[in-house]
Each structure stands twice: as structure tokens, then as C-alpha cells.
Symmetry: C2
Subunit: 191 residues, 2 copies
């Protein structure tokens, strides 16, 4: 886990062994079983989480209807970022789709890290940039694509998700009902 995380950082920028030990000391570890919650609505958000192993979903719950905001598998980050950055109660839930192992970074430790190690400010800056660009692409997909095109975009962007996530949740991620997703492409075949 520790070495996986080091690789994750070095993918963005180089760090010394010594710096990494210092960085690592700011994290804690956490293990969760399938179906367990990492975050629940109204929780106070302790940390941002990096997934070492497993798979999770972040979703907004509208009386029983789950709207998937984000998935996170190995090497991805997940949290309720609005609640985390602004220290407000969570409005979403984060739940494990598989047994998961996480490392956790409190907001205080993140800020401390960014102040004492300028390269970490750059690391998180570049990560946030990437997240912003990815979000913009998803928004554009809602604007210019229909359900079938959005599903196709999702499958080409994250092919491994299809193997691990039920269709119901993929449907929710692209903003259609599971019935509609199940029927995509059928129409063409019949004519």
C-alpha cells in the first residue's frame, strides 16, 4: 500500500525517499468491508481518501433514488469534497462496492503538508486541475450527448468499471433509468 501510494505521487512529480516518509506520516489507514459506509449524509468529513484496494461509490440519495456522483477504484481519490474543503456536513454518501483499503488525509494534515512541502501544494494543485477538467468533460457529455452516447463514453473511458459495477449504478452515473440503459442499442438492431 505504502509503495503503491509512493508510485501514485511519483506519477505526478518526483520526491525523495525522505520527503515521502514525511508525507506518509500525515496519513492514516482504514479498511472497510463491502456495503460499509465511508461517509454518510450529515457526517462531518474527516478526510480525503485514496483507494489502495477496492471500489467505492459516492452518491446523492433522493428518497431512495441513488444519483452516482463518482466511483473510485485503485489509485483514485474519493470524498465529499464540498463538505471536506468547506468543513460543512456531508450531503452525499460513500459506500463500498467491494472490500476496500484506504489511506486517509485530514484537511489539517493536507494544509500542513502543502505549507511545509511546496511540492505537495503542486501535487494537489495538479490533481485538482485534472479533476476539474474531467468534470467539465462529464458536464459537456450531459449537454451534447444522448443516453447511448453517454454510456459509450463511459465504457471507453473506464472499461474496467463495467466488469465490477452493476448496470443499475452505471445507468445512474450517466443519468438514465436502468431500464433505458438495458434497452440501448436494441432499437437499431430491429430495423
Amino acid at each position: 500500500m505504502k509503495s503503491l501510494f509512493k508510485q501514485h505521487i511519483e506519477q505526478t512529480l518526483p520526491i525523495t525517499e525522505e520527503d515521502f516518509e514525511f508525507i506518509w506520516s500525515h496519513f492514516t489507514q482504514k479498511s472497510l468491508k463491502k456495503h460499509q459506509f465511508l461517509v454518510q449524509e450529515d457526517d462531518y468529513i474527516r478526510s480525503d481518501y485514496w483507494v489502495g484496494k477496492g471500489l467505492l461509490k459516492a452518491y446523492y440519495n433522493n428518497d431512495g433514488k441513488e444519483h452516482i456522483l463518482q466511483f473510485a477504484m485503485e489509485g483514485w481519490w474519493i470524498s465529499d469534497y464540498d463538505a471536506y474543503f468547506n468543513q460543512t456536513p456531508a450531503s452525499i454518501n460513500v459506500n463500498c462496492l467491494e472490500d476496500s483499503e484506504l489511506i486517509c488525509l485530514t484537511l489539517a494534515n493536507r494544509e500542513a503538508l502543502c505549507q511545509s512541502l511546496p511540492q505537495m501544494a503542486n501535487f494537489f494543485r495538479l490533481k485538482a486541475q485534472g479533476g476539474y477538467v474531467a468534470s467539465q468533460k462529464r458536464i459537456l457529455s450531459f449537454l451534447k450527448n444522448n443516453a447511448e452516447e453517454r454510456y459509450h463514453e463511459l465504457t471507453t473511458l473506464y472499461p474496467t468499471l463495467l466488469q465490477r459495477v452493476p448496470k443499475t449504478l452505471l445507468a445512474s452515473y450517466i443519468g438514465v433509468s436502468r431500464e433505458t440503459l438495458s434497452r440501448l442499442g436494441k432499437k437499431k438492431l430491429n430495423e
Copy 2:
């Protein structure tokens, strides 16, 4: 303009007069008239732009249909961030809805600034975080809200936009046709 921009930075974190002069030396200025393009599809993106005065739209053009990705008015940033950060050709257009005055930051100058002034890495980190959170909210709005609710969210979030932007473009921003936007709320009144 210069002092407005200083205020903009100080809104996020404090800087010395000396640091600001150094920061300011990394920017250039640009003026554009209404209807002029700041960015066009396939352009190589020189800069990220901060709006000192005016109003612009960033949109994806789908044979004549404009899909609004972003507006930007005084104090906001705008660019094609995918193209800017990854130095690829632009896939969107940015055009002025009003005469505008901008200050411009090349990617090279941004990175130089972040390396030489750690506080600037933090500034852009916090800005990117904020952009990410705002994008997530817009995505959630697509997932859980209908056209009327999305419009209502837009109007409460950015009331000043309504005064300055034609309804056609607001419709496009929330992902509905202008006809549908024009009819919102009518149904209830008649029953």
C-alpha cells in the same frame, strides 16, 4: 485592473506588495470587443484568462448548436482548460458577450510562478479545488433536477447573469431548448 486582481488574490490568501509586483510581471493584458473570439476550436491555447471587465461564454459547437460550458464575468477565470493544461488543440470556443478586458497567464508563466512562489501554488490549488466542487454540483444538478429546478438553481447561484445573458444561452447552459425554458412554470399557473 491591477488593483482589482490584487484584491482577487488576497481574497484567497495574503501577499506582500513586493510579491504582487513579481506575480503581476507574469501576466499580459488583452482587450476584446463584443462578438470577438478569445479562443476558437483547434486553436493552440496560449493562456488562462482572468476577467477584469466584461462577460464571456465558453461553448462547444455541435454543427450550429452551442452548448455552454461556462460563463465568465468580472473576477472569474476562463479558458479551455483541457487544451490549456494538456497543451492540445482547443475543442471549444470562447467569445465575448460584452466588451471585455482580460489579463493572461501562459502555462509556462503559471508553472514558473508556482515554483518560485509557493503561495501561488497554493492559490491555484485552492482555485482548482473550488472549480472542482462547483463542477460536481452542476453534475449533481443534471442527475437529480429537472429543467425547471436546474434553471432555478442557476438563477439563485448567479442572479446577475440573468440581467446580462440572453435566455437562449441560459437554456443551453442548463441543457434544455430555449422553447422549453420559455415555457417553464407556465404549466402550474394554468391549473
